[in-house]
Structure formats: structure tokens, C-alpha cells
Amino acid sequence: MENNSTENNTVLNISNVNVTFGGLHALSEINLQIEEGKTHAIIGPNGAGKSTLLNVCIGKLVPDTGTVTLDGEIMTGKLPHEINHAGMVRVFQTPEIFPEMSILRNMMIPAFAKRDGMFKFNAFTSMADEKEIEAEAIHVLQDFGLVDQMHHHAGSMSRGDKRRLELGMGLIQHPRILLLDEPTAGMARHDTNRTIELLQSIKERGTTKVIIEHDMHVVFSLADRISVLAQGRIIAAGTPDEIRANPKVQEAYLGGAEI
């Protein structure tokens, strides 16, 4: 099925999204196009509405007006698991893992989702595929350097490891678009660098990404395009160089300091 948005290589199209909480305008008239294969960073001060925007994308929040479309298909109003199946996968800011289960199983669960997340009776076929999925999970764990401890409980991991696991759980689903919510927040420097390397390697695979980040070092080393969000509005958008030079951005977010 060909349509306009795929011809323009727009994967995710957020158009005219408004969200209000009581009297507060959390998001006002957000328009955003994410192009295929690009890494799009969204930056902005605390409370600017960045996480709210992601919540709208994955169906946690229904906007007052406006739509989110993925490959031309409207996502607004769909259930979270349907949005996930369409290919939009979010990596959470606070690791949302399955703490009582082993790391390996944590990785296997999202790998199963594509095949039988919608639920069907496949008691017999699923047994046969289990080994395949386990192998895939181990492969991803190897990439993430977690394979040595894969039989440990996920709840006992360090925070940095949990976040890497979280990232892996997003990637194993081979998403059309990956939404990353502050992937390096609260990480030690060397962990941050490791995560940047990981994200760069994902970029080479051509996965489209939206990334919310506070750490400008991370943003400028990964992003192809940047949108700046302040008080629920997009105040600037452009390439990293344009954003760096934009005086409005410096005032609103970067505090006037040179980057």
C-alpha cells in the first residue's frame, strides 16, 4: 500500500497534537515528522512535555486533538499492544523490567511478542520455536555484554545494567521506530559512553529513533535532527549545528551558555 507519507520517507507523523491536564497545556499544537533511518532528538527543560509526547505516541495517553500516524496508519486511540505490533517500541526511562524473572527470560518475553502477543492457541508450535527465540535472546545479550549473568534475577542488576537490558528488550523486537526516554540518565560516564556506542551501532542498522535526552554530549553525538520543546511548544527544529547557533534555544534551554 503506497501512500504519501511513505513516499516522503516519513515514518512517524505527529500532527497538531494538544494535551491539557486540567488547565495546564502540557502540549500545544505539536507537529513533528520523523524521517526513516534518522535519529531525531527532542530536548527541552524539565516539564517541557517531552515524556508526555512519548506517552501520546505509545497510547498511554490520548491527546485532546491531533493524530499520531506510523507509516500512514493512525495510531491514536489504539491499545498499547496494538501500537507495539505496528512497530513503535518505547524504551522506558525508569527500567520497566520483570524483576522476578531471569535476565534471559526478560529478553525472551519481548521476542515472543511479535509472534503471539495478540494471543492464539499455539501450544504445540510455540514449543518448537522456543529454542530459536532463546538463541536470539542470547545473541542480543551478547551484544549488550549481559550474557554472563543471564540466569540471574533481573531485579538484582545494577541500574546501568537494567537500562541496557531495557534497551535490548526494545531492540529485540526489531522496531520500525524506537522511542528512547533518556537512555543515559543517571548513568556513570563510562556507562554513558558505552550506551552511545551501542546506539551508534543501532544507527548503522538503520533503525529510526526518537531520543529524549538531557545530556547534550549524547544528543550532539547521535542526533541527525533536533527539536526543542519548551512549555509544551516546539520552539525550534533543525540540524544540530542550526540548533547550536539558534539564540532562542540558548535562551530557553541552554541558559545562554555556549555549547
Binding site: H81, R90, E96, I97, F98, I109, S126
Partner: protein, 389 residues
């Protein structure tokens, strides 16, 4: 190699089957070797295993599972009355009808989670209980309970034999009467089959997904899982288990009363599962064993029996001890059970199974330490002898 074998499905099943089928032998010393009690062990074992598939794997606490037990019993008795005294159709129909009830109740109750789910199931159970007591009397025979009578049509039986039976016929499996030990072995075989299915569910990807729902349902949704059909399937499976248990209650004693659906019956299976260890394979069975043992053995101890047990004590002390202990046995057996339950929940939240696991860890550590010490001693000794040269 041995350890691996016992952890494999085949090994587990072999061990389990032997343990269940030899129950009359190894329960003899504790005075629990009589068919009625053994049947209860097996039947409530099936009930608890099924309940554990829902509660242990998904964390959804149903307070109304006795409904399915009751439905199973009524269906089985009706099958005896209308069709045949053979137990196989009775069991089959019970499972089907209980499954249908579970689909309906589960579909409605699973719209909520946590405490709201529990309350909804409780409400359904009380509703069914009251209906069985009053409005549904034509089907359930109300207070008296559903019983066999000599006027029952029993279409299939009567079509194949003209023999006039004196008094009420008894349930049978192709002519083998289902009371006493044959009844126990029949229940035991079904328990083994039920355990096998539960084992497969626990170790399958389906079980893994249920555990993930228990662990973090919200995340499960964002990971792309439609969780409700999974929960409903678990609910229906456990409902069918309860229906099977209910039909077996009717098989071993063909009458069904509304009190089987009362909330105390639902609460009992919750107690059994928690006491034994929820979410473990054999935990619920241990819980069943403990509770049924208390209910049948502890409750039958009276002061004469206690005087016999404590006769080795000096006279004054003997009277004192018997006076104290007698409050905890006989009529007071539930007091002991309550205390035991409190102790387990406070000190061993994972139930008896956690106790077993902890003990085995302690023993393992102790053994490891001892062998280490031994090595150290021998190493030191050999070093000394080397020095001596």
C-alpha cells in the same frame, strides 16, 4: 546426571507418580491411611494445582473458585441421575460445564485486577451459592442437596441392562466400584495427569508469559501483549481443574450440596496454596496435605487419646499438658491451623516450600564448609609430612 534427570519432565513425573501411588504405604505411620482421607488428598490436590495455575502464575487471587467445584459436583450427580453411573461421562461433562462457567465469570471479573478482581469473584461465588440454595432448587435440590434416587432415568444404564438393582446403584468405572481404594487410585491417576499438565504449563512459554504478567502487567502491554486473553485462558484452565475436582467429590460420594460453593470452601484453597507455597509446583499439594490432615486427624484426637499419648509424663504434669493441648486438638483444630498459618505467613512468606529450600541451602552450605575444612586439614597434614622429610 542424577540431578538433571530429576529436574527433567520425565524424572519429575516419575518421582511424583511413585510418591502419589505409594501414599497408602508412607502415610500409614501417621495414621492417615484410610481411603476417604486419601481420596480427599488427591481431589483437593487437583483443586489446588488448578488454583495455583491462576494464582501462582498470574498473581490474580480468585476468592470464588469453589463455584467451579460446586458446578462440577452438580453436573456429575446429574450425569449419574440421567445418563449412567459410569464416572467417565460425569467427569467429562463436569469439566465442560465448569469451563463454560469459568469463561463467563472470568470474562467479567478479569476486567479488573488486584483487590477488585478478588471481590468480584467473591461476589459471583456468593451469588451462585445463594442461587443454588434458593431459586435454582429444581436443579440443585436446595438445602437437602442433590442426591441419587431409585426413580432416576439413567438412560444409558437402563438401555444396556435389564437387571433390577436393589437400593441405590454405586458409581463405577466399567463395573469397578469407585469407593474405597479403587476410588483413591482413580483420583490419584487423575491427579498425576493434572500435575503433568500443570508442569507443562509452568515450563512452557505460555507459563513464562503468565509469570511476566504477574511481574509487570503494564510493561507486558507495552511490550505488545494483549494480556487479557492470557489471563482468561489461565482462569478457564483453573476453573476446569476445579470442575474436575468437584466431579471427583461426587464420584467418591454421589451427592452435591450448595455448601460446596460457600466462600469458606474458596478460602480453603487459598489457604492451601499459600501455606504450601504459591507459584511452586508441589507447594499447593503440601498445603492440601497439611490442611486435610489437620481437618481429619487432629480434629479426631480427644482427651482419652491425649492421655494415652502423654502417659509417660508424671501424673500431675500429664493432666496439665493434656488440658493445655486439648484446646488445640479435637474441636480446636482450627486454632492450631490458624497459628500454623500465621507462623508460615510471617516467617516463611513463600510457604512450606520456602522452608524446604532454606533448609536445603543451609545443609548444602554446611556440607561445602565441611568438605572445605577437610581439604584444608588434609592439605595442612600433607604439608607437615612434607616438612617432616
Amino acid at each position: 546426571m542424577n540431578k538433571q534427570f530429576f529436574q527433567s519432565d520425565l524424572g519429575t513425573m516419575l518421582l511424583f507418580s511413585v510418591a502419589i501411588l505409594t501414599m497408602p504405604v508412607w502415610l500409614d505411620p501417621v495414621g492417615a491411611n484410610y481411603p476417604d482421607l486419601l481420596q480427599k488428598f488427591a481431589i483437593f490436590g487437583i483443586f489446588a494445582i488448578g488454583f495455583n495455575i491462576l494464582f501462582g502464575l498470574t498473581g490474580y487471587l480468585s476468592f470464588g473458585h469453589a463455584v467451579f467445584l460446586g458446578v462440577g459436583s452438580y453436573t456429575a450427580v446429574w450425569s449419574f441421575k440421567l445418563l449412567s453411573m459410569n464416572v467417565l461421562p460425569a467427569i467429562m461433562f463436569s469439566m465442560i460445564i465448569a469451563g463454560i462457567f469459568a469463561i463467563g465469570i472470568g470474562y467479567l471479573c478479569l476486567r479488573r485486577s488486584g483487590i477488585y478482581f478478588s471481590i468480584l469473584t467473591l461476589a459471583f461465588a456468593q451469588m451462585s451459592y445463594n442461587m443454588a440454595y434458593s431459586v435454582l432448587t429444581p436443579i440443585t435440590n436446595g438445602e437437602t442437596g442433590l442426591q441419587l434416587s431409585s426413580q432416576d432415568p439413567r438412560i444409558v444404564d437402563n438401555a444396556f441392562s435389564d437387571a433390577v438393582v436393589e437400593g441405590l446403584p454405586s458409581t463405577n468405572l466399567f463395573g469397578m466400584e469407585m469407593s474405597g481404594y479403587p476410588g483413591f487410585y482413580f483420583c490419584a491417576v487423575l491427579l498425576i495427569i493434572a500435575f503433568f499438565f500443570s508442569l507443562r504449563i509452568f515450563r512452557s512459554p505460555f507459563g513464562m508469559k503468565l509469570q511476566a504478567i504477574k511481574s509487570n502487567q503494564t510493561r507486558m502491554r507495552y511490550t505488545g501483549f494483549n494480556t487479557r486473553p492470557y489471563l482468561l485462558t489461565a482462569f478457564v484452565i483453573s476453573g476446569i481443574y476445579a470442575g474436575l475436582a468437584g466431579s471427583l467429590l461426587a464420584v467418591t460420594d454421589p451427592l452435591a450440596g450448595a455448601e460446596r460453593m460457600q466462600w469458606t470452601a474458596s478460602g480453603e484453597v487459598v489457604l492451601m496454596t499459600i501455606l504450601g507455597g504459591m507459584g511452586t509446583l508441589v507447594g499447593p499439594l503440601l498445603g492440601v496435605g497439611i490442611i486435610k490432615y489437620f481437618e481429619n486427624i487432629f480434629s479426631s484426637l480427644n482427651s482419652n487419646r491425649l492421655h494415652e499419648i502423654f502417659s509417660w509424663l508424671p501424673d500431675g504434669l500429664e493432666d496439665f499438658v493434656v488440658t493445655v493441648v486439648s484446646h488445640f486438638v479435637g474441636e480446636g483444630w482450627q486454632l492450631t491451623l490458624g497459628l500454623l498459618f500465621m507462623l508460615v505467613v510471617i516467617f516463611l512468606p513463600g510457604g512450606v516450600m520456602e522452608g524446604i529450600r532454606r533448609t536445603s541451602t543451609v545443609i548444602k552450605n554446611y556440607n561445602a564448609k565441611r568438605s572445605q575444612n577437610k581439604e584444608a586439614v588434609t592439605a595442612a597434614a600433607s604439608k607437615e609430612s612434607d616438612d617432616g622429610k
